[in-house]
Amino acid sequence: MNVALAKTDTGSALEAALAAARERLPAGGKVADIRRQALDAYERTGLPHRRIEDWKYTDLRVLMREVLPLAAAPDAAVLKRAEAALKTAAIEGTRRLVLVDGAFAPGLSETNGLEKGVSIRSLREALDGGDGALQAQLFSLDTSNPMVALNSAMLTDGVVIEIADGTVLSRPLHVVHIAAGAAASSMFTRSLLRLGKNASATLVESYVAADGTRTYQAHDSLVIAIGDHSRLDHVRLVEDAADAVNISSSAVTLGAHAHFNIFGMASGAAVSRYQATIAFAGEGSRVETNGVNLLRGRQHADTTLLMDHAVPNCASREVFRAVIDDSAHSVFQGRIIVRPDAQKTDAKMMTRALLLSDDAEADNKPELEIFADDVTCGHGATSGALDESLLFYLRARGLPEKDAQALLIQAFVGEAIESIANDALRDLAEATAGRWLRARA
């Protein structure tokens, strides 16, 4: 009974929010239809709960309770606060693209002097362009997932990046999601990165809040298409405010002989979920996904990955590390599908959780679904406390307990962090982990 009420309540609020969002995203009748359908799809389930298998460990009816009202379009004061936040969030040597409260902020972004073969537009502009294929690609995410459906229905803006064939981008692109609203609100964004053939690029995404921001929910989504013989390096840093919710969905497709390397680190947000589908569409491609969760207090972070081996001769690696303190909760759900014709697939998945407190919780669900016989697939999952004998070894050599712990934790997450190809970004991730450890001591 309660559940039904909650759903209706959220539903009617959403209708109003959708009306508002429609104003915010000018796009033709077709897009409006798609969004209408997406909202219907969302309303069939409402906020996902633990009875839905994919959300077994992340019950949003408990963790989120409601969808906050849509954030207002940023005004001058908000942009000013966002600009201040950029001082710490900016990463040197990258091209900055800023979204404030779910709207692209050209004033804070560097869109001048673009390299040859690179096009960057706001989602708004891109949809205005009336490119049907692009529209279809933008809405290719699977709306049977309620949070994707909600995002599709409500999205207000995003960044559309297109990189032409043969373009090698040396300067990483940095998409910064800043929450700076003065009222409790939700933002809904969708971005797209299209990488042509024989191209390469590095994309960094970070999620931060400006000082004085009220509680918020960031609902983000990202579509990535990697062309033949191309390589994309992707780094995600979730550093949201301590009371924020971050729900990010991603769909990645790889052409032939392509390479995708992603590293994600969640140290912020009260509740975060990263759900990604990575699909191999061409032979000879390789994916490396690496993730680190650094959680304390009552934080809840969920990583749900689907690796879809639909074609032969592809390789995938998943390395996931969670460090969980206090009464925090880390979830990893990894599924590898090897479809009937995907022979010679080589897939591996390893997830490890380190529990630093007796109230911490780690849930791992590493799934294999294999329909082809000439494949090598493996997965491993471990969870436990810090190794007493290693701690003893370090302490016997004169390290104080906290330092010894910090060293071991650093080594534990190091394996995932090392996968970052870009030196500066790797240092940045290491520094973030270091800060987290120091805050613990």
Binding site: E53, P340, Q343, A353, L355, L356, S357, D358, D359, A360, E361, A362, D363, N364, K365, P366, E367, L368, E369, I370, F371, A372, D373, D374, V375, T376, C377, G378, H379, G380, A381, T382, S383, G384, A385
Partner: protein
Amino acid sequence: MPAVQETVDRVRRIDVDQYRYGFETVIESEKAPKGLSEDTVRFISAKKNEPAWMLEWRLEAYRRWLTMTEPTWARVDYPRIDYQDLYYYSAPKPKKQLSSIDEIDPEILKTYEKLGIPLREVAVLEGVVKPQAEGEEAAPARSKIAVDAVFDSVSVATTFKEELKKAGVIFMPISEAIREHPELVQKYLGSVVPTSDNYFATLNSAVFSDGSFVYVPPGVRCPMELSTYFRINERNTGQFERTLIIADKGSYVSYLEGCTAPQRDENQLHAAVVELVAHDDAEIKYSTVQNWYPGNSEGVGGIYNFVTKRGDCRGVNSKISWTQVETGSAITWKYPSCILRGDNSRGEFYSIAISNGYQQVDSGTKMIHLGKNTTSRIISKGIAAGKSQNTYRGLVTAHRKATGARNYTACDSLLIGDKCGAHTVPYVEAKNSSATFEHEATTSKISEDVLFYCIQRGLSQEEAVGLVVNGFVKDVLQQLPMEFAVEAQKLISISLEGSVG
């Protein structure tokens, strides 16, 4: 790879005719009216002369069942079962007390002969003890096994009851136990698998007709292996057996079960519930060789094996170990589990599941760590061939207070051919920092390098495959009692015979 296609063909060719237990015994039987209603429940209860509390218990389960829906989460696919189109009770017509082997119904005699049980054992099975025949060659020494033979809905014989009684062990059909030891049954029945547990367990609670009851008193090591042989014979029947094993403080018991059924075009439902209770320092070893009729090469017929098995390590230092060899059934849906309630208790699960033809297996275990310093181990080997789907689904969870919990899981899958599927769905939940869980899984086909190595050293292709497969499943076979290990070895060679072209 041409060999793979040939393998598929060969495996497909063997799996239908290889089912050796698919015959039918023509025997008079009496049945409950077709369909399921409160009257059916009352009929079964009346047939068993049950006390009122038992009938009430069944009816409560039946009413609960009416409100439930059939689960759909398992990776199995089958047409809807018409629960009104089944006989819920079928028993061979009662016969007079047997005093000599010559009085045994020749049909039944033949049944056991065909099932591969030696004559001496048949004599035992049918309730007569055959004196040592003069001039007969001394049979190889074998350890005694007490057998409870369940034929369709009823237990036809239970052997060695007297000898077990001397040791204080109660081993009898559960229908008898309800009448003779109501205090024990009332105390334990449904205490591990509650009547409301799941759709099939609730159905079973309403209509179960027979099964085995074992009680081992404190400090007793059960003097022989106990075993139950389940046989479905009648057409259109469902078999709903219920087994309850209680090992009191400091006792030990090893229990085996085997299952076969005739070859038919229809699907038959087998929904059993097994409950184990181990008190302080007690140990229960439960082994299954499941060889229900798997259906023909087109996937027609076969048993739906929807079973709920759960053990409760209730006392400190208790231990429950499940070993299963699964080769039969059209569809298997079972997760023998351990609730590790007592401190220092231990749960084990060893499984080999071999699927062929159109078989679907969704099996695994649950290890629920509640007590301190509890340990569990899961070794699961799945072999998928033909067009079968073989899923391991398992849960390992440590409660907040289960400090020092440890689990080791290894689940491996082997695929033979490219039309089958092997899946692994583990859930690993750690809720305190001192719980140490390790899980690993691999999926592969038999490595050509390994085969080449063996062949180069003079083994034939078949021998090489046999060697690799037996090595692969060795961990599990070692856990089976001797007699069953031999049988299981045979089963494995049936399923893989000629798997390499």
